[in-house]
Structures are given as structure tokens and as C-alpha cells.
């Protein structure tokens, strides 16, 4: 039932395998829309890299649903980088060349670390950490996720602790949001509006131009809340230079020659469309697209012409076929009524899946025009929830 193919565009000299890609690059970013298996793919690539290449490999997942933890058999490794135990490889029957590490992004913790890093003094640091708005931003509301994910990637890369970092991208509403996050962060802190908003609380002098805004804002939000906002941003202003500089550095890392993007998709309509859009956009912006990984692809047997004829015959003439075949094969297939049902179901089922397989073939043809390397992963019997399963998947796409 399994089929795999790696196609290469003949006019481009490209890395022909994920193996080659992982040997050359320092950062592999796995991306795609929700539910296509990008977290699993990132973990599988990381596990295979640790198996086949020497050195230290980190899989960094930024997904709040804690899926990778399950797949790697690590219940809670939180913000801390943790090595996947050697026994996990042994019990999967593998002797790894290198080490596999994993870490998950804890947004709140990462923000706190950032504040500690950038705050000019202990007083500012503590004032920010206890500000109710800060706690809300980092705890309850999720837009800050994108930025902190890329920031963490940068921090780990710069530390020099790993030979390869495979990172899974946050489940943003749009797969490209996280790319813009560092720039948005820089814009935000350099915004003139920010200063405009903070000014009256600094000077106690409300300018003529901003007065209408404040009187309305007061009516809507209440003075206390406005003051909380102002205090929060005044404190954050002190970290401005640090933040903007880091945001630029993160952008540079993502676009640099040491980084590659692996776009993950299934061949369902909506994810495939998003993958197509994302591939184009990455290309336009000059990011390195290393591979397209297509998950949960139906096997090619559903496209076989002879099989189609057989399936149609079974679907439309099941009784006719059953009448003769049953006696020839013997029990329990000699029950003609049962056999008719079975043959009919087999034929119908094949034709049903064939429609899907044909749709997938078309989606695949449309998608494969863009990247140099396309790896196809078949439907597995079961979801992947062990290192062994990850390695099995990794081997499908590795070389």
C-alpha cells in the first residue's frame, strides 16, 4: 500500500534529498496549514537527522497543543531542551549517530526571559513582570506567540549548542504570519503612535491634537486602564533598542543561507491551496524552499486502469460474479448473498477512493511545479505516537 516517489526538476541543481538538506543547513523550518502534520514532519526529520548524521539535533515545537511531546514520549519538557533518551532509539531498533533533543515553546516563560534579557535594570524588569497588561498579553492572548517563537529560535541558534535545529511553526491564522512577526514587533516599538499615546502620561501635558482622542478613550476604557496601558508601554520603551535589534537579527536568520523551509501539506483542497500560496510567497521573498512534503497520500493503485474495470464490474455486476465464483472458492465465500455484498462493497469502495486519488494526483501536479524536491508520505495505518513511528515516517522522506 505504500508508495513513495521523489521527483526532481531537471533544470535545477537542487538538494535531491532531505538528507542532503539537513547536512547543509543549520535551521529547517517546517511550515504549512493546520492539521497537515507539520509538527510530526518536523519531529520525523529531526529524528532521522539524529539517526543518520552525527552531532546534536534539536526539534523545537512552538505548538501549544503539546503534540510533539506525545510523539516523542516526553510528557512535559516545557521550555527546557531535553535529550530524547537513547533507550527510545534502542527500543525502536535504531542506533543513532547523533543526539536528538527536543524543546517546546512556553510563550509566557519565553516572554519573561526576554524581559529579563532586555530590561535596563531590576526595577524596570520587576515592574513589567507584575504589570497586569503584561500578564494578560503573555498569558491569555495569543498574538504574541509568533514573535516569541522566532525569537527563541534565534536565541538557540546563536547559542551554538546544536548542529541542526528543526523548528515547527506556530498555528497562525495564516501560515506566513510568523515571518512578519519580527518586523511587526520592530514597527510596533518604533511607532510614533506609541510615543503619542505615552506622552501625556510622561509630561502631564495633553497636546491639543491628542486631546479629543484621550477624552474619548477615557470615556470608553476608563482612566485606570489607560494608565495601565501607558505604564506598560513606557516600561517597554526602555527595552526598545534591544527588541528592535533582535527582531532584525531574527529576520536575517530566517532569510539567510543557513536556513531552509520545508512546506508540509496534504493533498486535500484547502491545505494544498494554502501550501501553493505559501510556496509562491516564500519564493518571492527570497527564502530558501528546500522541500515540499506531502502527507497522507493515497497509493497509486487507485489510479490503475485495469483495477478500475474490475472495480466497476464488481460494483455493477456483483451478483453475477458471485454466482459463479463462490462455489469455486468454497466456504465461507460460497454464501452467495454474503459474497455479493462483499464484492459490491469492494468495488464501490475502490471507486470512491479513486475519486479522491485522482483529485490528489491533480493537486500534486499543480503543487510540484514550484519546489525542487517533493517527498510523498503514504497513509499510515495509525497516527504516529512513538519515536519508532516518527523514524518510520522519517525514513520515507530521508533519502
Amino acid at each position: 500500500m505504500a508508495s513513495r516517489s521523489i521527483t526532481e526538476r531537471s533544470d535545477v541543481v537542487a538538494p535531491a534529498t532531505i538528507e542532503q538538506l539537513c547536512s547543509a543547513k543549520e535551521v529547517v523550518v517546517s511550515t504549512g496549514s493546520g492539521g497537515v502534520g507539520k509538527t510530526t514532519t518536523a519531529a520525523a526529520i529531526g529524528a532521522s537527522a539524529a539517526t543518520h548524521l552525527g552531532g546534536k539535533v534539536l526539534v523545537l515545537t512552538v505548538d501549544p497543543a503539546k503534540r510533539l511531546a506525545n510523539a516523542l514520549g516526553l510528557e512535559r519538557f516545557g521550555n527546557v531542551e531535553t535529550q530524547v533518551p537513547a533507550e527510545a532509539f534502542t527500543s525502536a531498533g535504531v542506533q543513532p549517530e547523533g543526539e536528538l533533543w527536543a524543546a517546546m515553546l512556553d510563550t509566557k516563560q519565553s516572554w519573561d526571559d526576554l524581559v529579563r534579557l532586555h530590561a535596563p535594570d531590576a526595577a524596570t524588569r520587576d515592574a513589567i513582570l507584575v504589570n497586569p497588561l503584561y500578564q494578560n498579553i503573555t498569558g491569555k492572548f495569543v498574538q504574541s506567540h509568533d514573535y516569541v517563537a522566532m525569537e527563541r529560535l534565534y536565541e538557540i541558534h546563536t547559542s551554538g549548542r546544536y548542529d541542526l535545529i528543526v523548528v515547527d511553526t506556530p498555528p497562525t491564522r495564516n501560515a506566513v504570519d510568523f515571518l512578519d512577526a519580527p518586523d511587526r514587533m520592530a514597527d510596533f516599538f518604533s511607532s510614533r503612535l506609541l510615543r503619542w499615546l505615552i506622552t501625556p502620561y510622561r509630561s502631564r501635558l495633553v497636546s491639543f491634537a491628542s486631546k479629543p482622542f484621550y477624552s474619548v478613550a477615557d470615556r470608553i476604557l476608563g482612566t485606570q486602564f489607560l494608565e495601565d496601558i501607558a505604564e506598560f508601554f513606557m516600561l517597554f520603551q526602555t527595552m526598545y533598542d534591544g527588541f528592535v535589534e533582535r527582531a532584525r537579527a531574527v529576520t536575517t536568520l530566517l532569510g539567510g543561507p543557513q536556513t531552509t523551509f520545508v512546506v508540509v501539506s496534504t493533498l486535500e483542497v484547502a491545505p494544498a491551496r494554502e501550501a501553493e500560496f505559501f510556496l509562491k510567497l516564500l519564493g518571492e521573498r527570497g527564502y530558501h524552499v528546500g522541500a515540499l512534503v506531502l502527507n497522507k497520500v493515497l497509493p497509486e493503485l487507485f489510479l490503475d486502469r485495469d483495477a478500475t474495470t474490475v472495480a466497476k464490474t464488481l460494483a455493477h455486476h456483483s451478483a453475477e460474479v458471485a454466482a459463479d465464483v463462490g462455489a469455486r472458492i468454497g466456504p465461507p465465500a460460497d454464501d452467495e448473498r454474503l459474497l455479493t455484498t462483499v464484492l459490491g462493497e469492494v468495488g464501490e469502495s475502490f471507486l470512491n477512493y479513486q475519486v479522491v486519488a485522482r483529485r490528489e494526483a491533480e493537486q500534486r501536479a499543480e503543487l510540484a511545479r514550484i519546489p525542487q524536491l517533493t517527498a510523498t508520505v503514504p497513509y499510515f495505518d495509525d497516527d504516529i505516537h512513538s519515536l519508532g513511528g516518527l523514524l518510520r515516517l522519517g525514513e520515507r522522506i530521508w533519502s
Partner: protein
């Protein structure tokens, strides 16, 4: 199947959520389409401006202003800036402010700066439509599981932060509408796979722990058909053996060729009219069986993990169209059957 104390379509406001990729938007569209076809004036709205809702309704791009896309069915796309302008126009009687030049920039800034403003404006718009009784039912294609609790909890969170002022008086009635189980409910869409089921159970726990919003129903989408019962399965196993495949190949070849004459030669060798492809078809059926079977434990896990009495609706996998307005219409039919219409 009983739909619990309050019928799904008898509520006024439904937030449809689910893990990315499970068919959240198609189920939201289908609920709205079903409600409209049953005589309810219905509004369906997408919160994430991906433009997929328009696809599932088979219409052009949607805007903030609702358009009637079919009889009694109105569709819109959330735009928090427009929502703020509308709110100010209706509530603050502030036409001047709505025209202020830097409003757009100011708004963007405040929305990004003050946490929860975007969420509040989103939830506020829907609760407003419910309060004003502009529609019989408002269906929201809400954020995915990771984000939806933050969205739904925003009025309460803001309520905690803002002690006085107009916002405070606004969040109070929003919370009243959101927490009234006869009015508002969350529909969690899932598929019978491991991670979507886990996320569904986690989400329901979080919704119950962190909000007072009622979970109206779980919708299990893309349930694969069961091919065989036990007796049929035994027959199928027998067919898979080499002599079964050979007999089938011979017979199918003749039926397909239209001769139809039974083959009387007992020790039949591979003949010209033997059908090729029988193995592939049987392999295909085996894959279908194992795909279906691999999902059973996840369905069991879901059923075991859900609170007692929570209605679960099952929708079949659609082979022919998985996307677009035709898929929506088929899902609406399936939902209607599950709800006993």
C-alpha cells in the same frame, strides 16, 4: 439522536471551532445553510479572513457588511476596525470620531497594544446582533482550538482589567449573552484521528474550566464508511487467498468482456480474458478497511472522554467533493439527518 435540552438550531449564537484542517468552516457553513433552509434568518461569519467561507458558500469575496447569499442566509467577514466604527456610530453617537483621519492607525495601534481588544470587538459584534434580534441564528466560523478560548474569554478578561467606564458596561451584557446556555453554544468539530480528538477533549475541558460558555455539540466529521461486518470480513479474507484472486480474475474478466459465460474448466490457467487489477482492487479494499479500523480507537476515546449528555453528531466522509458549496450542501443534509429533521 437527541440534541440535548436545547436543540442546536434553537440557540441564537453558535461558535464553531476545531483543530485546523478538520473542516470547521465547512461545518459552520452547513449549519447556517441548514438553519436558513429551515426558515431561520441566519448570519454566518468568518473570523479568520482566509476567504474560505466564501468558497464553501460558492460566492465571491465577503465583506463586513452582510450579503444575502441565498434565501435567509447572510454572510460576512469579520473586520475588527469596521466593527469598532459601527460600535461607535451606534453606541457613542460619535460620527466625528469615526471620520477622524488617524483613526485607522490609532485603532490598529490600540488594538495591538491593549490585549483582547480585537477579540472583544469580534465577540461584541456577534453578541450585539443577538441582542438586537437581527437574526434568528448567528453562526460564527470561529478561531481554531488553540485560540478560541482566548477569544471567548475576552469579555471576562477585559472585565477584570477595566473596572469602570463604558467598556465595562458593555462587557456585562456580552457576558450575559455568552453565558446563557439557551442562547449561546460552542460547536467543536473534530475528525476521528488522534490529535484532533485529544485537542477536542482538551478544549472542552478548558471551555468548562475557564469560561462559562456552554458546549452545544461535538461534530465528528469525515467518518469513513464501514465496509464489512464480521461475516463479510471472513468472506473477504478468503477472497484474498491466491485461489480466490485467480477465480475472481477469471470470472470478472468474462463479465467485463460481456461474455458472461461461466467458466467450466476447473483447473483454469491464466487466460487472455482474465482480468488484471483484481489484486489492486482487493488491496484498495483492505486499505479502506484498515483506515476505518485505525480510527475506531479514536472514536472510542472521544466518546469515553466527553461529558455525559453532550450530543455528538457524525458526518460521513465525502468522497466526491470535499470542498466548495456542493460539499456544504451534502454536509447540511447529513447534519439534518443526524438532528432528526
Amino acid at each position: 439522536m437527541s440534541a440535548g435540552p436545547v436543540g442546536l438550531l434553537d440557540r441564537k449564537l453558535l461558535f464553531v471551532t476545531g483543530k485546523g484542517g478538520v473542516g470547521k468552516t465547512s461545518v459552520a457553513s452547513a449549519i447556517a445553510m441548514l438553519a436558513a433552509s429551515r426558515g431561520k434568518r441566519t448570519l454566518v461569519c468568518e473570523v479568520d479572513a482566509k476567504g474560505n467561507l466564501a468558497d464553501f458558500l460558492g460566492v465571491g469575496p465577503l465583506r463586513f457588511q452582510p450579503t444575502e447569499v441565498r434565501k435567509r442566509l447572510f454572510a460576512m467577514s469579520m473586520d475588527t476596525e469596521e466593527s469598532l466604527k459601527e460600535y461607535m456610530r451606534l453606541n457613542l453617537k460619535l460620527p466625528l470620531l469615526a471620520k477622524m483621519g488617524p483613526l485607522a492607525r490609532t485603532f490598529e495601534f490600540v488594538a495591538n497594544a491593549a490585549p483582547g481588544v480585537n477579540e472583544l470587538l469580534t465577540v461584541g459584534k456577534f453578541t450585539w446582533e443577538v441582542r438586537e434580534r437581527n437574526y434568528d441564528l448567528v453562526v460564527v466560523d470561529a478561531s481554531a482550538t488553540g485560540h478560541v478560548v482566548g477569544q471567548l474569554a475576552a469579555p471576562v478578561a477585559i472585565n477584570d482589567l477595566v473596572k469602570v467606564g463604558l467598556v465595562r458596561s458593555q462587557t456585562d451584557w456580552m457576558i450575559d449573552i455568552l453565558t446563557d446556555a439557551d442562547t449561546t453554544g460552542v460547536v467543536v468539530v473534530t475528525v476521528p484521528e488522534e490529535m484532533p480528538v485529544l485537542e477536542t477533549l482538551e478544549l472542552i475541558e478548558r471551555l468548562r474550566g475557564e469560561t462559562e460558555i456552554d458546549v452545544a455539540s461535538v461534530v465528528v466529521n469525515r467518518v469513513l464508511p464501514e465496509l464489512f461486518g464480521r461475516a463479510e470480513e471472513e468472506v473477504f479474507e478468503r477472497l484474498r487467498k491466491p485461489d480466490g484472486v485467480a477465480a475472481l480474475s477469471a470470472r470478472v474478466g468474462r463479465v467485463a468482456a460481456g461474455t458472461g459465460a461461466p467458466d467450466d474448466v476447473a483447473d483454469h490457467d491464466v487466460a487472455d480474458d482474465d482480468a488484471a487489477g483484481v489484486d489492486e482492487v482487493l488491496d484498495g479494499a483492505e486499505l479502506a478497511v484498515s483506515l476505518r479500523r485505525s480510527r475506531v480507537p479514536h472514536l472510542d476515546r472521544l466518546r469515553d472522554g466527553l461529558p455525559a449528555g453532550l450530543p455528538v453528531l457524525y458526518l460521513p466522509y465525502l468522497f466526491h467533493r470535499s470542498h466548495g458549496v456542493r460539499a456544504t450542501a451534502r454536509i447540511a443534509e447529513g447534519l439534518g439527518e443526524e438532528l432528526g429533521f
